[in-house]
């Protein structure tokens, strides 16, 4: 394994996203958006071949489908996964989804519905979509392309769409044991919920990023994992697979200005 210093932040985040799926076993991996999807695909092609994936529509594939226009590529279908079956999978808990919510709070509660007053919102977004059901039934990871205090809000998110570890939201006899929020992969760091009472910790910092900078970009207090280090850099093998999974380089358009993976300390962006 050799590392290559010539890689982009998007590629670093794809590798970090792939790590979130490590050890999941035989479940459906759903990465929503280009970087999460490439992360799940990379996981399946490297450390987690047992993962199930779809064509992002209705059919199961054993070989992850490259993103973007397919050209000569012919998908190799292995089964059927209609939207109706996805709900059966979700409610049975056999899935790990990585999604990009608009807001996240210190409990891991997520918002995809609206910003501001619910009856007359400042910004109406997509709607809660599958977040309530996904978040309470199976493993979820979160993807944040621009880590800032508008995403990582102080207090609770404006509309709790996905459940988190907020004791005030759970009452006796509800089953909270079926949910898990695994990792948050951002453009600055990787975080998890392994602090006391599921407090959010910084697990690793991306090359050139400081904990203080992450904290300043977050609306609530963060912990540092005792072994907090640097996010693993992509290997040549991983970069080759990413290029194969993303032949049109759509990953270059996912982050503002497509920054390099190792940030120069002097730029202070």
């Amino acid at each position: 394994m050799t590392t290559n210093s010539d890689f982009t932040l998007a590629e670093l985040m794809i590798v970090a996203a792939s790590e979130a799926f490590r050890g999941d076993g035989e479940i459906l991996a759903s990465g929503l958006g280009i970087i999460p999807r490439l992360g799940a695909s990379l996981a399946k092609m490297t450390h987690a071949p047992e993962l199930l994936m779809t064509d992002s529509e209705t059919l199961l594939v054993e070989e992850p489908i490259p993103v973007g226009p397919r050209g000569d590529y012919v998908p190799k279908y292995s089964g059927y996964m209609s939207f109706e079956r996805v709900f059966e999978c979700v409610w049975g808990g056999r899935r790990h989804a990585m999604i990009g919510p608009t807001q996240i709070d210190r409990f891991g509660q997520t918002n995809l519905s609206c910003i501001g007053d619910y009856d007359k919102p400042k910004v109406a977004m997509l709607g809660v979509r599958g977040l309530p059901g996904n978040s309470i039934n199976h493993i979820n990871s979160l993807f944040v392309p621009a880590h800032n205090t508008r995403v990582f809000v102080a207090g609770e998110v404006d509309m709790v769409s996905g459940v988190g570890y907020n004791p005030a939201r759970w009452i006796e006899h509800m089953r909270q044991d079926l949910m898990e929020i695994r990792h948050i992969v951002t453009n600055l760091c990787v975080m998890d919920f392994e602090g006391p009472e599921h407090a959010i910790r910084v697990r690793s910092l991306h090359p050139g990023v400081t904990f203080e900078e992450v904290q300043a970009s977050t609306g609530f207090e963060l912990l540092q994992a005792p072994d907090m280090g640097e996010t693993a850099q992509p290997t040549d093998e991983q970069l080759a697979l990413i290029r194969k999974l993303d032949p049109h380089n759509l990953r270059a358009r996912q982050l503002k200005d497509n920054p390099p993976g190792v940030r120069a300390a002097t730029t202070g962006q």
């Binding site: 919102p121 809660v128 309530p132 309470i136 509309m159």
Partner: protein, 290 residues
Amino acid sequence: MNKQITAAEAVAQLRDGMTIGFGGWGPRRKPMAIVREILRSDVKDLTLVSYGGPEVGMLCAAGKVKKLVFGFATLDAIPLEPWFRKVRQAGEIEVMELDEGMFQWGLRAAGMRMPFLPTRCGLATDVIRHNNLKTIRSPYDDGEELLAMPALNLDLAFVHVNVADQLGNSLITGTDPYFDHLFARAAKRCILSAEQVVERLQLDADSARDNTFERYLVQGVVHAPLGAHPTTCAPAYGWDMQHLKRYVDSASQDGGWDIYMNEFIRSGEAGYQAANGGADAMGSLPLPTF
């Protein structure tokens, strides 16, 4: 028995204040020819129940929506539905915002004539709070607290299919049938629009599997070729991104909705097809890949 009617006859069955459901999913296989007929009608104060695509935004733009029951409203490749956003942000519609899974659960409850079905989805979120949903304790030893998802009963459901016959038998030949069967079951009446209508389907065993609900659920069949445009109708045609962009622009234009109505809707389906480059072009739009 012949259930074939015109789109105008179908829409004449609507009354102000009705609760109506639309099949499809986002910008996929929506009964848009029926939606356009509703846009040409006087009906108002509708409660829409939908996995929302452009039909939601268009009916909102036309001021026909009192309440929206939804899990999302999106054009997919264009994530934010512009007219839904506009009326939602103006506080002009009531909403019942549900998890996508709760939504199909509510349709199932209606189809099974149940007042509710239990689920964990929605617990510990604001979905339960904003909709005043109730919880229920399992009567068994586990004693689990669950959400009681109320039935989503529909007065009328509109579903767009690939093929139907005059008896109300239908085929959905796209890979995913979505939840159209549940809409048909949840409704007092269901009207199909179809790319192709034949007098009587005669199927082999394989193609009979593309029939996803029974004809006794169907009270009307409308012949509506290209009736899902500008949404997809797999395997026949994909969405019309150029049209969807034009529609999105109408939300930021002064008097944009009236201009859109004049350009595309008011002249009927023949005028609609002419304004979109004709039937051949519309029918050969490529299916999107993801």
